[in-house]
């Protein structure tokens, strides 16, 4: 009873004092007379490291099998079953993280932030698909990436879209890539992970908003195959570049093309390049003039883009939590809250960092964004410039070939080709 009184008394004293003093041994641990033993604090272990290493092995195995199926066996069915496996293993079993798409941000963070040491498995997840792409084309996209394969399964009634639209939308992944790198490099945010529309399905749990976005993507994906892969995925943008120089890319025909045009509309991703014959070649003077113009316009575009990006840097930086905090403190806006002090400000006051330090830090982050804005803008300008170049180049082509950049190596077109490896033709009834 005495102890109880003492506690109440203490409580009154303490409650008059600082509210948030944490972890102070105010009341000593009792020694029990009844022989009561204190239970242990249970701390469940995380998923073991061995499983993470297993993931890398599964990734290598899956990449190898899919590459073999695509390049050697030319089997759409095999790729389809591998997609199912990828959705089940990399999607539902592993619940998503870390995936190759997101790993590019970890890589950037490791490059720019000296304090972050990157796990080896993450490096493997980033580099392995690129290496495989360098040899066999985007087989990773075809049947290993859980995000892509999930959409692939939903691609039930693909419809072709205008090729000019495809080109314009194809620039978006590069912009997204630039933004993701900028935000990861400034340790601001991992935007790719934050706005990953499909991870919620794998975890069967996400915010309502993300479920809606994911659902919309899948619904669109029924008609426009793999919208995320083609028009958003930043890792896909990287693989697109690498795949152009791949050693053994899938071909539509196993032998020589017989110009039957059967495969013409077989690709749900619009990634088959049609033959370009000599007669379509532009008149030489016009082409020359355009090239002179382009060679001037590319540096110009980089400059204009860089300038615009640098002007835009404040909008980019306002996402950063430190900048936001400094801004709210400076303007006394309290995060728009009227009833009580915003948690961010409470926490800042509790942490004991001086305002001077915070302002200096915010200023230096903004400076990073200023330079980042130049680089990002210049990069986007370059992408636009190169796209224009690729749209002005005349490439002589006799056969129907997959576009090595945008082709996802799904092997759908293979089934449309009537040519056999020995150059015989299947005669359809």
């Amino acid at each position: 009873m005495k102890r109880k009184l003492a506690i109440v008394f203490l409580l009154i004293i303490i409650s008059l004092q600082i509210y948030n003093a944490f972890a102070i041994q105010r009341f000593p641990k009792p020694e029990f007379e009844s022989g009561h033993t204190q239970p242990p604090t249970i701390t469940p272990d995380p998923r073991s490291n061995a499983l993470a290493i297993l993931d890398v092995f599964v990734l290598v195995a899956a990449l190898s099998i899919v590459s073999w199926l695509v390049v050697k066996k030319r089997s759409r069915k095999g790729v389809f079953w591998m997609s199912i496996f990828a959705v089940l293993y990399f999607g539902f079993f592993r619940e998503g993280c870390v995936c190759s798409v997101g790993s590019l941000q970890n890589i950037t963070l490791a490059l720019f932030n000296p304090e972050y040491s990157i796990p080896i498995t993450v490096i493997a997840f980033f580099i392995l698909p690129i290496i495989y792409t360098l040899f066999f084309g985007r087989t990773f996209c075809a049947g290993v990436c859980p995000l892509g394969t999930l959409q692939d399964i939903f691609a039930l009634r693909p419809m072709p879209i205008k090729s000019w639209l495809e080109k314009v939308l194809g620039i978006i992944p590069f912009i997204y890539l630039g933004l993701a790198v900028l935000y990861a490099a400034t340790s601001t945010d991992f935007v790719i992970c934050r706005y990953d529309p499909f991870i919620g399905f794998f975890r069967l749990d996400a915010s309502f908003m993300m479920f809606m976005i994911g659902g919309i993507f899948l619904l669109i994906g029924v008609f426009i195959a793999r919208p995320y892969c083609r028009f958003l995925c930043p890792y896909g943008a990287l693989l697109n570049l690498v795949s152009r120089f791949s050693k053994k890319h899938i071909t539509i025909t196993p032998a020589e093309c017989i110009q039957c045009r059967l495969c013409e509309d077989s690709c749900p991703f619009g990634a088959i390049d049609k033959p370009v014959l000599l007669k379509e070649k532009e008149e030489r003077p016009i082409a020359v003039r355009r090239f002179v113009m382009l060679s001037i316009i590319i540096p110009l575009l980089i400059l204009v883009g860089g300038f615009t990006g640098a002007q835009f840097h404040e909008n980019l930086a306002s996402v950063n939590s430190k900048v936001r905090l400094a801004n709210e403190l400076l303007n006394n806006t309290n995060y728009g809250e009227t009833e009580q002090e915003a948690f961010e400000i409470t926490a800042f006051n509790a942490a004991g960092q001086s305002k001077e330090e915070l302002y200096n830090e915010a200023a230096s982050i903004i400076r990073q964004f200023y330079y980042g804005g130049w680089i990002l803008g210049g990069f986007i300008g370059l992408v636009f410039g190169l796209t224009l170049v690729s749209l002005s180049v005349f490439k002589y082509r006799e056969d129907y070939t997959p576009n090595k950049g945008t082709c996802l190596s799904c092997a759908r077109c293979v089934d449309y080709c009537p040519v056999l490896p020995e150059n015989k033709v299947i005669i359809q009834k």
Partner: protein, 605 residues
């Protein structure tokens, strides 16, 4: 072949039906889940206002049984609804998943049963035309993007960076005003205490401090540093502490005047430093390197920060001897950050909350005992003596980023001494001792100001400075007094008692020197005459500190010898700690902090 087709044909009808049913089912479930989602926010039991208001009402009339019942019912209802809702959504999710999977299987089966029917139509696919359209739209897209970006950029004025810099500047000015006001009141007692010993130059410099801070030219050590104990051997490392009311009696055995005692997790020969209410020190072994922050009033370990994962840090720490260890250098702080260096050459900065600000490796020092020079901060620079076998230099790193601000090569040998940073007549100099010379460097630029050959051997003690004279010593060499200036000259030199570990401490009139074999000697500062000498039972590794006109000198067995800084030996106390100690104590007003072999002690009343 025909048979197969037959089977598929039958199946198509069936699967079509299944697909339609599954789709309808999925839609219904989906709809229900969305409805449930919208509901969940209303049912959040964490923020049920009704219950909270009812409980408030209850506290006004605590015996209202009906009200109690009402609360209990409501609470149960709210919790039930919350968990049922979660269950519903989870179950709904599974059902939806099953529905969608069945739908997909059905559609995929139907698709696979269909024959591939390529269409070969006549299409207008003039390549040139397509390219032209694409070019047009790409250009439009680019122009649109630029216009939108510039529009938003125009809205934001692009002044945020400068605004922050200005705000930081304003804050800084505000803080400075506050500290200079505070120091004005604190300094008076310091001055009187100093007067007892007759140290006129310190008195002058404190007066100057007050003046110069007002005119915002930094003195050294600054008033802020003098209020604290920011580095090894006090501010600037000259062996002087500016605190008051320091206790002279305590007893480790009876715990008399021992306020708290805490075990330091990892061993280290470095000494504690103090800023505000925080006390910092470091510890290391071959594999771990840590910095600790204690609440100096309660002894609570506030944080432990690891110095690991540093780029360039060697996998195995270099070999060191047992009496040097992996963390001999003392940490330092400027009140905003804490800096530490270890035997591996890892330098690391933490903020006051233990968050890493930057870290780097300076290259593993080639040192057969182990790196031992302590760190100091001058303005925004971290000063590091880095004399080792392959190269010998002194450098300044930016406290903000760790980038090298300046680095000056010295053609010396390995030195274990720490820098001493003092304000001489019109500039701030870094005094550094090595075999065979004493050199002075401009703290702002790192430029070598002057240099004089004076000593040899494996140099351990740092220098002492007072009134324009630097005192340097080393075992098996000599004790030399050097008048500083662009043409430094030796004033006197003796060979009687020499130190190999503890550093001397000087006032205007006297020089005090302790030796590792137990003799303490007092010289006349100007002539070098021995005024008194006294032999103690235990030797000294810890350096003497002058505070309040008294010398505090800790021997290897943990006995603190306190005596007047005067021309006669007058003992003021010899309190025992009861634990071996080699580190130099740190001081705060009314407190002494001692890092003994295993424990950290706070002594005070």
């Amino acid at each position: 072949m025909n048979n197969n087709k037959q089977i598929f044909k039958v199946n198509i009808q069936l699967w079509k039906g299944i697909a339609i049913v599954a789709a309808a089912f999925s839609f219904i479930i989906c709809f229900l889940i969305i409805a449930n989602y919208l509901q969940i926010n209303r049912l959040d039991p964490v923020n049920t206002e009704i219950i909270n208001t009812l409980v408030e009402r209850l506290s006004q009339n605590p015996n209202d049984e009906a009200l109690k019942e009402e609360i209990r019912e409501l609470d149960l209802l709210a919790r039930k609804a919350y968990f049922t809702n979660q269950w519903q959504i989870r179950t709904g999710g599974y059902l939806l998943l099953i529905g969608v999977i069945i739908f997909l299987i059905a559609i995929q089966l139907i698709n696979s049963a269909k024959k591939i029917s390529p269409e070969v139509g006549e299409k207008d696919d003039n390549n040139l035309f397509l390219q032209k359209t694409a070019r047009k739209w790409v250009s439009f897209g680019g122009i649109g993007l630029i216009i939108i970006a510039l529009f938003f950029a125009f809205l934001t004025h692009n002044r945020l960076g400068e605004t922050f810099t200005e705000a930081a500047f304003a804050e800084n000015a505000l803080n400075k005003e506050a500290t200079s006001d505070e120091t004005g009141s604190i300094q008076t007692p310091v001055e009187t205490s100093v007067n007892e010993t007759g140290q006129t130059d310190i008195e002058e410099s404190t007066e100057q401090t007050t003046k110069t801070i007002k005119s915002s030219i930094a003195d050294y050590p600054t008033a802020e540093m003098k209020e604290n104990f920011p580095s090894f051997r006090g501010p600037g490392g000259n062996g002087i502490a500016y605190q008051k009311n320091i206790p002279v009696n305590w007893d480790g055995a009876t715990r008399e005047n021992i306020l708290w005692k805490a075990t330091v997790p990892l061993h280290g020969y470095n000494s504690p430093v103090i800023w505000g209410n925080k006390l910092f020190l470091s510890g290391a072994n071959g594999s771990q390197r840590q910095v600790y922050c204690y609440d100096r009033n309660t002894g609570k370990l506030l944080w432990t920060a690891n110095a690991d994962n540093i780029t360039g840090s060697p996998a195995n720490a270099p070999k060191v001897t047992n009496d040097t260890g992996h963390s001999a250098p003392t940490v330092t702080t400027d009140g905003k950050k804490v800096f530490a260096i270890f035997s591996t050459g890892d330098v690391i900065a933490f903020d006051m909350n233990g968050k890493r600000v930057w870290a780097k490796n300076l290259g593993v020092p080639q040192n057969h005992y182990g790196y031992s020079s302590s760190l100091y901060v001058f303005k925004d620079k971290l000063i590091i003596q880095y004399d080792h076998r392959t190269e010998s230099k002194v450098m300044a790193l930016s406290v903000e980023s760790g980038d090298i601000v300046w680095s000056t090569n010295r053609n010396g040998k390995i030195s274990w001494a720490s820098p001493v940073i003092v304000k001489t007549f019109d500039r701030v100099e870094i005094l550094l001792l090595t075999d065979p010379f004493l050199a002075s460097y401009d703290a702002n630029t790192g430029e070598e100001l002057w240099k004089i050959d004076c000593l040899y051997g494996e140099i351990g003690p740092s220098v002492a400075y007072a009134d324009g004279i630097v005192y340097v010593t080393n075992e098996y060499a000599s004790l030399v007094a050097i008048k500083i200036g662009d043409n430094p000259e030796k004033l006197w030199e003796t060979y009687d008692y020499l130190s190999d570990v503890p550093s001397p401490v000087a006032t205007d009139k006297y020089l005090f020197l302790a030796t590792s074999y137990g003799v303490v000697v007092c010289h006349d500062a100007k002539t070098g005459d021995v005024l008194w000498e006294k032999e103690f039972n235990n030797g000294f590794y810890s350096s003497p500190i002058l505070v309040e006109g008294k010398i505090y000198l800790l021997d290897k067995q943990g006995i603190m010898h306190i005596f007047k800084a005067d021309k006669e030996y007058i003992s003021l106390g010899e309190p025992k700690l009861g634990e071996k100690a080699v580190s130099t104590p740190a001081f705060a007003n009314g407190r002494v902090y001692i890092r003994a072999d295993k424990n950290l002690y706070c002594i005070g009343k």
